[in-house]
């Protein structure tokens, strides 16, 4: 892809000229993350998290492949081989702690990335496909993380597998056979452990494939930016390299300081002590909770304590268990519809006063409440709080966002990114004020300006 003013790759040596004809890989890199990719000049640090997420995926794949060389997916020995990695394998403790904490940091980074997308409405046209692929990646990540957590075959592993596959048993008619089929038995055992290992090894590569699609889709319209105003001219952009390679490099340094601090000084802080007890099918730990990154969704699952029934007849339409499962999956599947629920033509939360209030004082406190309740035992007041928060969560996306986008009066948008950053520098740049219509937002897209140059670099 690119804008008309993107620099063209010019091989310098005989070898790169030869390579460019046979397999233009350096050209691909140049156009994707090099000087040939013009990026809005005003990206803030919230735009670092995409690159960081890619880095996390690489950490997980490298440490994971190495751990698989020492691990055995057999219920008899799995717990022992994890301890073998911790005690006997050279640097095994470090690799395992990096992998376990790497999962947590991957989710921290992804949640920041999603948060950025929600505040700046990165999901809006023309970037819906990027958002949809991102939701797919998130779902794949959740499945991968869940199956990875089962592999050490500790108490939390075992009971996590029992509870999560138990979710499927809530489905009417086919639920119970489906759970037995997923586990390959009537309770989690060798068959389940083995298939979870196989899939846990496979899925990161599937994620990497969808990430390529995600980046491909990104490079067609290019990155959004904090003003939400599309790129209109060359002065709105800077080349990815060296400007954003440097900025992302700095962010990566900060990330690595935090990550290594956890790996070396607090490696078990985010884990559960119960998972250092070998799986025991006859004894459930007193307090089963998933890993912290699932807490908000676990709170939604547990918020449904009563059946949906016709009043005074006792006829149950949907039992509480199924309601909870539907709500939990629905809370994420809802994101697939987000680009069409929020119809406001203004993207950035900075120019949307009403949206911003609901975002900071509605959605964010709700997510914090769900997070706390998901990690707490199933007792009052957490049950009531999670019920209120669950109600607001769905209300926010299904009711508040569509209404706000109709009634809100947005603040005046800058004419261009350049104007927003350095003030008016172009004599032609006038009248950016007032509500903009959808047409002018799309105007200046690379697709309309430079037909044919829309294709990705390959």
């Amino acid at each position: 892809m690119s804008f008309a003013w993107a620099k063209q790759y010019e091989p310098q040596t005989a070898f790169t000229k030869w390579l460019d004809e046979k397999l233009p890989f350096p050209r691909l890199v140049y156009n994707a993350v090099g000087a040939g990719y013009p990026v809005p000049r005003n990206l803030n640090y919230m735009w670092n998290f995409g690159v960081l997420a890619g880095f996390c995926l690489m950490i997980q794949i490298v440490t994971g492949v190495v751990l698989a060389m020492h691990y055995a997916a057999n219920a008899q020995v799995a717990f022992g081989t994890v301890e073998h990695i911790m005690r006997n394998v050279n640097y095994g403790w470090m690799l395992r702690y990096a992998h376990a904490n790497g999962a947590s940091f991957f989710f921290i980074v992804i949640y920041m990335h999603i948060f950025r997308g929600l505040f700046y409405s990165s999901y809006k046209a023309p970037r819906e496909m990027i958002w949809l692929l991102g939701v797919v990646i998130f779902l794949l990540m959740m499945a991968t993380a869940f199956m990875g957590y089962v592999l050490p075959w500790g108490q939390m592993s075992f009971w996590g597998a029992q509870v999560i596959t138990g979710l499927f048993s809530a489905i009417p008619l086919v639920g119970e056979p489906l759970q037995v089929w997923l586990l390959g038995g009537f309770a989690p055992d060798n068959a389940a452990l083995n298939r979870f290992f196989s899939l846990h090894f496979l899925m990161p590569f599937v994620i990497a494939g969808v990430v390529i699609l995600h980046i491909w889709a990104l490079h067609i319209p290019g990155s959004s930016n904090p003003t939400g105003v599309e790129v209109k001219q060359e002065s709105d952009t800077v080349p990815f390299h060296p400007y954003y390679t440097a900025k992302d490099g700095f962010g990566l340094g900060v990330f690595l300081i935090l990550f290594t601090t956890m790996v070396f000084f607090l490696p078990n802080y985010l884990g559960h002590p119960d998972n250092y007890i070998e799986a025991n099918p006859l004894s459930t730990p007193a307090h089963i909770v998933p890993e912290w990154y699932f807490w908000p969704f676990y709170a939604i699952l547990r918020a449904f304590t009563g059946d949906l029934s016709i009043p005074f007849t006792g006829i149950v339409l949907i039992p509480a268990k199924l309601l909870g499962v539907i709500a939990m999956f629905g809370s994420i599947l809802l994101w697939f519809f987000l680009p069409w629920l929020d119809k406001s033509p203004v993207r950035s939360g900075h120019y949307r006063p009403m949206f911003r209030k609901f975002f900071w004082f509605g959605l964010i406190p709700t997510m914090i409440a769900l997070f706390i309740c998901g990690g707490a035992p199933a007792e009052e007041p957490y049950v009531v709080i999670s019920q209120i928060a669950t109600a607001y969560y769905f209300l926010h996306f299904l009711v508040i966002l569509p209404i706000v986008s109709q009634v809100e009066v947005p603040k005046p948008l800058p004419f261009s990114i350049t104007e927003a950053v350095v003030g008016k520098d172009k004599p032609g740049g006038t009248s950016g004020g007032g509500a903009i219509d959808a047409g002018s937002v799309v105007e200046g897209l690379p697709g309309t300006a430079t037909d044919g140059s829309l294709q990705p670099a390959e």
Binding site: G185, T284, K321, A378
Partner: protein
Amino acid sequence: MASDTAAASELSTEDGVRRRDWIHIAALGTAGVGGASVLFPLVSQMAPSRDVLAASSTEVDVSAIQPGQSIKTTFRKQPLFVKRLSPEEIARAKADDGANMRDPATLADRTKAGHEDILVTMGVCTHLGCVPLGAAEGENKGEFGGYFCPCHGSHYDVAGRIRKGPAPLNLKVPEYSFKSDAVIRVG
């Protein structure tokens, strides 16, 4: 018969159907059936294997269980509770037979005739599969004196019937029979 129209139908007939469509449909249909038949073993291999299914019946000696006492054993690698109800517990369960329950069942429905004091249930909460407490000495038996699931707070009564909390069904009574007064065969 229609030899003169055959040449025309090589290209296309008036309604847009061509003779070549047949071979497209036949080829794709054959490939589709072939593909689906390859898919079947790939799906089926995930079902419980023969050795898992073979270990699907268990014999339990119930003679040593004292009234009011339970034992925990395993059936299909899942916990199984066998409880000998005391006369007070039988009375309490029968008194509740008519109570308003989510999954109504009487004590007689859940035990074998002539062995009303032996209650055999899976030790698997019907909510999300945790092992309820109450089978061992000193454990929390919940508000109804039976079993209590600590995961999400489901209370079961002395007959293992769900009375409070998120679980949708009573603790499952597996198929079993008395081989003698002392031994039951589960599965």
